[in-house]
């Protein structure tokens, strides 16, 4: 029987593995081109060399493209992170929750504070999204600038305990820094698409003629591999980012169970959210990975199989995992 601490450790390990693959893939995207240039010793516009390698001037390895790929990625990620929170909230026409407005909003504000105590996070601001479909999401990049927004639909259908579990899930996204992680990954996916576009449209003219030269052959093999991986980069990076997104959902579920000590509460809430399977119109697809459940209606169905292009794991599987945490808790007592 797995406790929520076991599940959390397991999810963190899996995320790390995927992130390492991601980084290695990007290093390869830069390094592959550098290595090709190194082995072929050609310049993109150079004329074929008539000399053999022995008489060539000594080769130098310049990790030029590795650096370009790396720096662009870091720069874009930084820019995106410093501009994200308010844009997302504005796009959803969210308004701050007001405790004098209704008792449900008072409950929301209280529950957000309770969960910030349970998770030792600075209390996030509570927001209301005017949308009848039950959903919730977390925004914010650093402690002190955290926001949690829930739809009016969610406030109307959930009990206090269920609302608490959903808020705990969103706080877990903030505490585990998923907002940050997913922003960086989204930027990297975009960067991969750029590189791929660049490769598809450019005809690199390289120095192919020394075909009996060993270095030249290594260079050609590396170059071919590189072109193939650059062309598949957008798909591969997108799948990796989505894989991370789904692991982070399981992690947030397990953390919610830790904070509320009530995994059944989240399971019941997910049940209700799945039943109201309309799309959440107010939430843009770009913020989908920060929601409690996918805002696209198609992903809420009964499908038991993991969809490779889904931001969230199937709700059935999430409920089952939560129930197994619940059983583990009971057998421990």
């Amino acid at each position: 029987m797995a406790t929520f601490f076991d599940l959390q450790a397991q999810n963190r390990r899996k995320t790390k593995t995927v992130i390492v693959c991601f980084v290695l893939f990007f290093i390869w995207l830069g390094l592959g081109l550098d290595l090709t240039l190194y082995f072929l010793e050609g310049t993109p516009d150079g004329s074929p060399s008539a000399y053999s390698t022995r008489t060539k001037p000594p080769k130098h390895f310049y990790p030029l493209f590795t650096l370009i790929a790396g720096l662009t990625g870091v720069g874009l990620a930084w820019w995106n992170m410093s501009h994200a929170a308010n844009t997302v909230l504005k796009a959803m026409v969210a308004r701050p929750a007001d405790k004098t407005r209704s008792q449900r909003e008072l409950t929301l504000i209280n529950v957000v504070e309770e969960m910030s105590i349970a998770s030792s996070v600075t209390p996030p601001d509570a927001w209301i999204i005017p949308d009848p479909d039950p959903n919730a999401l977390a925004v914010g990049m650093r402690d002190g600038d955290y926001h949690i927004a829930v739809t009016t639909g969610l406030l109307n259908v959930l009990t206090r305990d269920e609302l608490q579990a959903v808020v705990a899930h969103e706080i877990a996204h903030l505490k585990n820094q998923d907002t940050r992680l997913m922003t960086v990954l989204t930027v990297l996916v975009g960067l991969a698409a750029l590189i791929s576009e660049f490769v598809a449209r450019t005809r690199l003219r390289l120095n192919w003629d020394d075909s009996d030269n060993r270095d030249s052959r290594i260079g050609m093999i590396i170059f071919l591999l590189w072109v193939v991986s650059a062309l598949f980069a957008p798909l591969a990076t997108r799948l990796m980012a989505l894989m991370v997104s789904r692991e982070r959902e399981y992690l947030a579920d397990a953390s919610s169970a830790q904070f509320t000590r009530n995994p059944e509460g989240l399971a019941r809430a997910l049940e209700k959210i799945a039943r109201a399977s309309g799309p959440t119109a107010a939430v843009k697809p770009a913020s989908a990975h920060l929601c409690i459940a996918s805002p696209a209606a198609a992903d809420l169905g009964e499908a038991a199989e993991t969809n490779w292009f889904a931001t969230h794991p199937p709700i059935r599987q999430r409920i089952e995992r939560l129930m197994s945490i619940g059983r583990a808790n009971q057998s421990n007592q």
Partner: protein
Amino acid sequence: MSIAVIVLLILIGAVVAVGILAYNRLIALKGQTENAWKQIDVQLKRRHDLIPNLINAVKSAMQFERETLEAVITARSAAMTAAAAATPATAGQVAAAEGVLTAALTKFMAIVEAYPDLKATGNIGQLQEELASTENRVAFARQAYNDTATDYNITQQQFPILLFAGIAGAAPAQLWEIAEEADRAVPTVDLSMKK
């Protein structure tokens, strides 16, 4: 000869590096544990401050439940005295005083439930929500403290960190256990807004 010196230097460097990492981790956890403890204090104080409001709101309608009101007030002042001198070492006493207060409040809320006039006022609904939230906050602050303190205690005993526990001044933190069996048996107030 020189290889032996280099190996020795590398070993010393490794030990120092591990020591620094272990020390920093212990200090960070100690800080988190102390912070979590203070959070319990904050929430207990919040709870104590809420009680007078609660009593005032129902006093006139509940004249003949004087005994129940008195019990809450007495429990509150006892809990405040215990909380004023609280350190992780005296967690047991604070927990006991708070347990008495919880029991008194539970009885009080059960009686409020029985007064339809009181329940009908919107004000009471809000107070009930605030009280439920306050009870939750205390419970969650306690849970966060116990989670952090457990992490701190386990880390201190792990190799190789335990070798540096003395230097970092790390000592096991006492967990906040529920004091008495009787307290454990008290059902929590069900104020969930089920319709």
